[in-house]
Symmetry: C2
Subunit: 408 residues, 2 copies
């Protein structure tokens, strides 16, 4: 396996951006389950919406010409022949001098070409006095006003949001063809990792965090997670798991096993695949330097650092929106703000640092303070409000400087 | 029933803001299911994290004093007595002049008080040459560095995000006490509404949209939806449904049945409850004027307009974040931007209008255009990119004016 040189953040982003969206097969889902999915074919409507002429208002369906000349001091009397509520089928057609009461949304009788609003009427026994002249078409919703039969209502590759579900529902559509969610397999590696089912921890063992946290983070990007649990740091175990998931995944995310120590297995297992193309092996960032990104049998593979804080931070900064791009999910917009630094912050020269910070108010002003623990502690992430970026060449950020904080 | 006068948007917002968070009972959920829930009691850790002394780096665990004086041209030789991988239990304690290899995260042997990084070592057969002097404590993660046994890790009323799940997982916690989700019952009313299961629509009937769209929108606020489906516009039907859901809901949302026409049932049913307190009946907005907000048997009740575009628009503008406040869910931050108006826009004087608009590029510049259909058409919402707010007293917005667009 060819190990590439450590690359910059910019190069890393460029490589990720060069990967095109994964094209998955189609599947049919219920309209309700289609929320936030990508429609896989143009969808025409089989009906007009509405498919009958209806009233936009509560009022009286009339022949507009009958109302000409009506004013407050010149009431025109019409015979009331029917009351039509929403959902009713009109039973009578209008003749000259007649009207029918129509509720909002109700079908209007044949021959009617306008609605006089209730506000401009005075109902007598069997008659209605009209005080407002209307032009033909007033408050009538014509057939196909909303959607025309045969028109493509939703185009292929559209993200289905609530308004899209609304318009599909209005056309009576129950099921939608969408692209399948890309499958992301998640493997957590490490002999030290123990499930929360175990009550007493031996020396050397720690509870597994990445399985549950990364799984949740990945799920939130609109992909389907295939979770393999913790795999032992043994060549055969990891190789077998890899072989398995290569069959049925689009993307594989492995946490742990990326640094250069004797116990690190990820790169050794990758070495034994012929058709592997390592795109990235090492990024000049802190935390997350040993990250690996590769193409293997047409699948994409990430190896994230094992420390949960490093893994989650790399995930948020680089992989979250990458997976959303792959699934077609709405991208996460990261809220950020310039804030004054409240205490000197140190950084490692030669690495672009994503430094966890908290925001505290001092002397009535919000200021940035560094989190003192590092990526070895999950509490770092827990106590941080966000992060600041520190350039490769900066070693110190002075108190009083302004920095942009990216909030989690 | 006392009908109140139509109120302004500001008054409506103030009334909603005056409602305090619903306090629900507790329930125990798995750590994984606790995402975005509110923890209902202080949670202390039963263990130290880590519960053993471990190495932050790949390197050699040493007695720091043994390395004093080590430099590149003054290598100090130590006897290598053991290799400890992450997860291993150290078998040997160090004596003066000895060291053990330790992987990142591995437990370190007794008596060791510092780690020399691999980079500053040269491994021989059974010995290691050290080129770097370290002070006691270097690269050792002490017991309780991350979390101290007995310390409250997560305080009551905290929203559980991914980092919180991470820290709870690291303490071996499998289940968490959280507040139950408030139960929101949703009723769609209207004799004209028909399920998508029906293939052929009669005259007067339309497919029900609110059931599926509002249900989804409500679900997204972190509450539990109790969905009753479409209820007929008959007094007994609606009264029975209301009586039912009052028992087992915290909030009731009814769509349809709010305007003043003969067919409107919501207010008539409300009248017959003694213990009802109508807080709002009518807001000077378009769309959504007839909205009702009431307290009934200590439950909260909204009646939204029946037109799906009105209902969804009222929901987004007023109720979305209100429900999130009730459930403790993260509020929705609405993205907005000032853009130039590309075409004259008309509005009704006397109502604060939330006008659906689309953004189109004309002459290389993005501009605001009004959607020509109104709230009677679900396509209005579908084609809109967002909305602009138009003050009660404005009747015309001229082309060339700048307006803030709130994106959906």
């Amino acid at each position: 396996m060819k190990f590439l040189k450590t690359i910059s953040v910019e190069e890393f982003k460029n490589i990720l951006n060069s990967i095109s969206k994964i094209v998955t097969d189609e599947e049919l889902v219920s309209l309700e389950d289609s929320f936030n999915r990508i429609i896989s074919r143009d969808l025409p409507s089989n009906i007009n919406v509405p498919h009958f002429r209806k009233s936009r208002m509560d009022g009286y369906a009339v022949i507009a010409e009958d109302t000409f000349g009506a004013e407050e001091d010149n009431l025109i009397e019409l015979e009331l022949i029917e009351t039509i509520q929403a959902g009713d089928i009109p039973q009578k057609e209008l003749n000259k001098g007649q009207c029918s009461y129509v509720a909002t949304g109700a079908a209007i009788p044949e021959n009617s070409n306008g609605i006089v609003m209730v506000e401009f009427s005075d109902k007598q026994e069997n008659n209605v006095l009209i005080s407002n002249a209307i032009t033909p078409g007033t408050h009538v919703i014509e057939i196909g006003h909303d959607v025309k039969k045969g028109d493509v209502i939703v185009k292929k590759n559209t993200l289905i949001d609530l308004a899209t579900i609304g318009i599909l529902a209005s056309c009576g559509i129950k099921e939608v063809s969408v692209y399948k969610k890309p499958i992301v397999s998640l493997i957590s590696t490490g002999n030290e990792l123990v499930s929360q089912d175990i009550k007493e921890l031996d020396i050397g063992k720690i509870y597994d965090i990445n399985s549950i946290v990364l799984k949740k983070a990945i799920e939130n990007t609109g992909v389907q997670v295939n979770f393999l649990g913790v795999v032992k740091d043994e060549y055969e175990d990891l190789k077998n798991s890899m072989d398995n998931v290569l069959e049925n995944s689009d993307i594989i995310i492995l946490s742990g096993g990326t640094s250069k120590g004797e116990g690190d297995l990820g790169p050794r297992v990758l070495e034994d695949y012929n058709d592997i193309e390592i795109l990235i092996h090492g990024v000049k960032i802190k935390p997350g330097k040993p990250m690996i990104f590769a193409k293997l049998k047409k699948k994409l593979l990430f190896i994230l650092p094992g420390y949960p804080t490093s893994a989650l931070s790399c995930f948020y900064v680089f992989i979250d929106n990458f997976l959303r791009k792959m699934s077609g999910y709405p991208l996460r917009e990261r809220f950020s703000k310039e804030i004054e630094v409240g205490e000197r912050i140190y950084s490692t020269v030669g690495r672009h640092e994503f430094k966890a910070v908290k925001i505290q108010e001092v002397d009535g002003k919000k200021r940035i303070f560094p989190i003192k623990t590092g990526s070895e502690a999950i509490s770092t992430m827990f106590y941080a409000d966000g992060y600041i970026e520190i350039d490769e060449l900066e070693s110190i950020i002075e108190r009083g400087d302004n920095r942009r904080v990216y909030f989690f």
